[in-house]
């Protein structure tokens, strides 16, 4: 048996094409992701689906402790005085955000958010 024939290249190209197609058609069904940002820059990203059942991922950014598990994300602790971020509690729905303004850290749930913006 040969190692490589012309058809093999075709196979590789097909797999690549399928991967590319999937990649570009997919973003609309991304599912639930928690994005952690510091100073407006994305620092970490966790896919809820990729977490084990009791797995908890902890992030420590600029004095803010964020914990993410299958059910959602929340700010566990923060060095800020107001503690608004901690009081926000657990967020899990797409579009929700927990923000620590003084420390400029935020964790946001993305996915299928129906509203382009929320006022109030």
């Amino acid at each position: 048996m040969k190692i490589l024939k012309q058809r093999d290249i075709l196979v590789l190209a097909c797999v690549l094409a399928v991967a590319a197609l999937l990649y570009f058609c997919m973003p609309n069904k991304k599912g639930s992701i928690a994005e952690i940002e510091y100073d407006g820059n994305r620092v970490a990203e966790v896919h809820f689906a990729a977490l084990g059942e009791n797995e908890v991922k902890t992030f420590e950014i600029n004095g803010v402790t964020i914990k993410i598990d299958r059910e959602g994300a929340h700010v566990a602790a923060s060095v800020c005085k107001g503690q608004v971020c901690v009081h926000t509690g657990k967020i899990s729905k797409a579009g929700q955000t927990a923000v620590c303004l003084p420390q400029r850290v935020s964790v946001r749930i993305t996915g299928n958010a129906p509203f382009d913006g929320i006022t109030g």
Partner: protein, 167 residues
């Protein structure tokens, strides 16, 4: 091949497949890949088995690998290993044993890897949620690389053993 030779070969291959699988289990998680994604070198063994023995022997090795995953890791690992292994073995066994096969080892390796990864993602989606499909494009691209590697090594193995058997 005589019967005893077959049995010995089976046992050897099974042990080889399991140990390669165990060694790979020690690798850390990769970027863009779901945790648990591995190069899949043990598939070389199952592919070799499906050509030199039979697809049934190869499937037995796959089941043994899956049970090894069950005992050393978890039930989830068992399902993933079984699903990926069975699908990719069926695919590669068919491609390898065709009378007028028009694909080289690399092509077969890539298709086997792609089938393996897709089957595992499907099972993972059933267990968790469909969000995991997000990783599929990246896994498919990876399967081009890993499939090429396993296919090449498979080809080398065939060359070696064919030379040997003519002695």
């Amino acid at each position: 091949m005589k019967k005893t030779q077959k049995i010995t070969l089976n046992a050897l291959l099974a042990a080889l497949a399991v140990s390669i699988s165990a060694a790979e289990g020690l690798l850390p998680a990769f970027a863009f890949m779901p945790p648990g994604a591995k190069p899949g070198l043990s598939n070389i063994v199952t592919m070799y088995a499906s050509k030199t023995l039979s697809v049934y022997n190869a499937l037995v090795i796959v089941v043994l690998k899956a049970f090894f995953a069950l005992f050393t890791r978890s039930a989830t690992a068992f399902c993933m290993s079984l699903a990926g292994g069975v699908i990719s073995t069926l695919v590669t066994a068919y491609l390898l044993n065709r009378k007028n096969g028009r694909l080289g080892c690399i092509g077969i390796g890539v298709l086997g890897a792609a089938a393996h990864n897709t089957a595992q993602i499907a099972v993972a989606a059933l267990i968790t949620n469909s969000g995991i499909f997000y990783y599929l494009p990246f896994l498919l691209i990876a399967s081009i690389v890993t499939g090429s590697i396993t296919g090449s090594i498979l080809h080398l193995t065939f060359s070696f053993t064919e030379k040997r058997s003519t002695e």
